[in-house]
């Protein structure tokens, strides 16, 4: 078996999320160092507050300020903080029922070690220096032995309430493409295009994915195809893509390489965009140091007969 190909893959996205009125008040409150809960019909105060009662689904709007002191209801010692977590030094994850609340809030507790943490211990909020209206405006909790904080009776009305948050997310992967695609990529590095044949229907798939999508069986027999092929269909791209240094308009085409039963797609160059046509014969153009053809250009052969590629549109 050839060496497994691997590459780092980062999936990163800043999710922009709109807020309901209760979420907006809560997060705006954190910015102003005010903690708000929401009252349910049966008199419970939910912190963090939600838009709808988790039991009855009733709409909740009755905001009430609670204390920034509270009691740990459960905890877990995290000796190896991970990326994105509230503290860089070891800390305790805690659920804290703030004074005046009936439910608990998840956050971090800054404590010297696991022996100094227990369920029932008293804590208070440590506010972040810079606050934007986010759960991270609470930097963490810290141990607190004095009198409970008395909330100020805030109504949840703010001059400039938040309407949305941006929540960045990032996940890191090590991508490996699997057996069939690894073989395809390996061959490309020698400027060869290698597909795989289905043992059942005999079709040659390029690029191969390891399975015949029609028959549901593994493909294994490797078949070199091309390098020449036929444009089966195409489109003219008129909008410049971000980070792509190609002058518009240009042609992007489906190309059936000779010997392949599936068209792949690539850019067509070396010919004015408005002269590209179905049936045009093309060949790959490789540039130094790349693992795939930069584009395809006309070979100068006569156009292919429609009947030779009509199944490959």
């Amino acid at each position: 078996m050839p060496e497994v190909l691997k590459a780092p893959l980062v999936v990163e996205f800043p999710f922009t999320r709109s807020l309901g009125p209760v979420q907006s008040a809560f997060l705006t409150g954190l910015r102003e160092r005010v903690v708000l809960g929401v009252k349910t019909a049966d008199g419970r105060t939910l912190v963090p507050p939600v838009e709808y009662d988790p039991v009855t689904a009733e709409e909740l709007r009755d905001l009430v300020e609670v204390a920034n002191t509270g009691t740990v209801t459960t905890w877990a010692w995290n000796h190896e903080p991970r990326r994105g977590q509230p503290l860089h030094a070891p800390f305790a994850w805690v659920l804290v029922r703030l004074d005046g609340a009936d439910t608990a809030l998840l956050h971090a507790l800054d404590a010297p070690g696991p022996d100094s943490v227990h369920t029932g211990m008293r804590v208070r909020i440590r506010w972040a220096g810079e606050r934007t209206g986010a759960i991270t405006d609470i930097a963490c909790f810290e141990p607190y032995d004095a009198e409970p904080h008395r909330p100020g009776g805030h109504t949840g009305e703010f001059a400039d309430p938040l309407t949305g948050i941006v929540a960045p997310a990032r996940l890191d992967y090590t991508y490996s493409p699997g057996r069939a695609q690894s073989a395809y990529i390996d061959a490309l590095s020698e400027q060869r295009t290698v597909g795989e044949r289905c043992p059942s229907c005999r079709k040659v798939y390029v690029p191969p994915r390891g399975a015949c999508p029609t028959c549901g069986v593994a493909t294994a027999e490797q078949v070199e195809v091309g390098p020449r092929g036929t444009v089966t269909t195409f489109c003219i791209v008129n909008i410049k893509a971000k980070n792509l240094d190609i002058e518009v308009p240009y042609v992007y085409a489906h190309i059936a390489l000779d010997g392949a039963d599936l068209a792949l797609h690539a850019r067509i160059g070396g010919i004015p965009y408005d002269q590209v046509r179905m049936g045009l014969r093309v060949e790959p153009v490789w540039t130094e140091g790349t693992r795939y053809p930069d584009h395809y250009r006309p070979t100068g052969e006569p156009d292919a007969d429609y009947d030779t590629y009509k199944e490959l549109l």
């Binding site: 691997k6 999710f15 999320r17 807020l19 809560f26 997060l27 939910l46 963090p48 939600v50 988790p54 039991v55 209801t73 459960t74 905890w75 877990a76 010692w77 995290n78 000796h79 991970r82 990326r83 994105g84 977590q85 509230p86 994850w93 659920l95 029922r97 439910t103 608990a104 809030l105 998840l106 971090a108 696991p114 369920t119 986010a134 759960i135 991270t136 948050i165 929540a167 997310a169 996940l171 890191d172 992967y173 090590t174 991508y175 490996s176 493409p177 699997g178 057996r179 069939a180 695609q181 994915r209 390891g210 399975a211 015949c212 999508p213 029609t214 028959c215 549901g216 069986v217 593994a218």
Partner: protein, 349 residues
Amino acid sequence: MTREIAVVAFAQTDHRRSTEESSEVEMLMPVLHAVLEQTGLRTADIGFTCSGSSDYLAGRAFSFTLALDGVGAWPPISESHVEMDGAWALYEAWTKLLTGDADTALVYSYGKCSPGSVRDVLTRQLDPYYVAPLWPDSIALAALQAQALMDAGHTDEPALAAVGARSRTDAEANPHAQLKGQVPQGDYVVRPLRTGDCPPVGDGAAAVILAAGERARELCERPAWIRGIDHRIEAHGLGVRDLTDSPSTRLAAERAGAFERPVDTAELHAPFSSQEVILRRALRLGDDVRVNPSGGALAANPVMAAGLVRIGEAAARIHRGASDRALAHATSGPCLQQNLVAVLEGDPR
């Protein structure tokens, strides 16, 4: 008139720490072939196909459509997908068969945890406003639940260690399990949970075939009849729930008829040792019930497939006459947030 529906075949991969040499479809396809072969069915004979997976695990967009290549979806098949454990795909297929629209269903699921960090990936399923920005990983949340359970006096560290040890000892008889035999309980990962209380991280796939009525009897000598199946979800706010209990499991079990007669076997989807303690109490399982003879999720936890594997393992025991009435459970979300319970029975012998 309710149709009788049974699990008639089950197959799974060997679950491994990494399957980097295979794409998802390359990992899945042998299992699809194995489960079809058990029944003699071909793709074209299957009335409905349903799968469960999550693109976030391996970071591959639309991986479930690529996985369909392994089914052979031509001519076009009747197909669906859930971004959940395959146990929920099975629920959808069961519903489809109940309507009479199909007599057979192929259900499969797969999870490739190895390309990413599953602890971090699972944070993305949490409340995006109040919780996800703190990146609390799956082990941290389970540890909060375990501590609550200890504070309530329902368990302690030695009892949790015993759950892990029993699971991995049982897994020695399971050729597909990833972690088996004597495994050190290890250090704290997130206290109070130690390595031994946590599931192995691994890749794997599973598939089952469902069939209705007489069709089931034709395809399987002893079908595992689904006498009841139900799933329930709890509030997403962790601080709203009583983490020491699982009312959603209890209610699902009630609706599935689990309490009508005792079961002899239970396959519980408890990725953490502490969660088995909670599930045993919620399901009122006595010491006479064989719990997780396969080794359970503590021996192999291919995320998105581990729940379906529980149903498959329970059914397989009925198929081979090792059980007459078994309970299978699957979970989803943090701290047993959502739970599915199925009750399976074999025909009297």
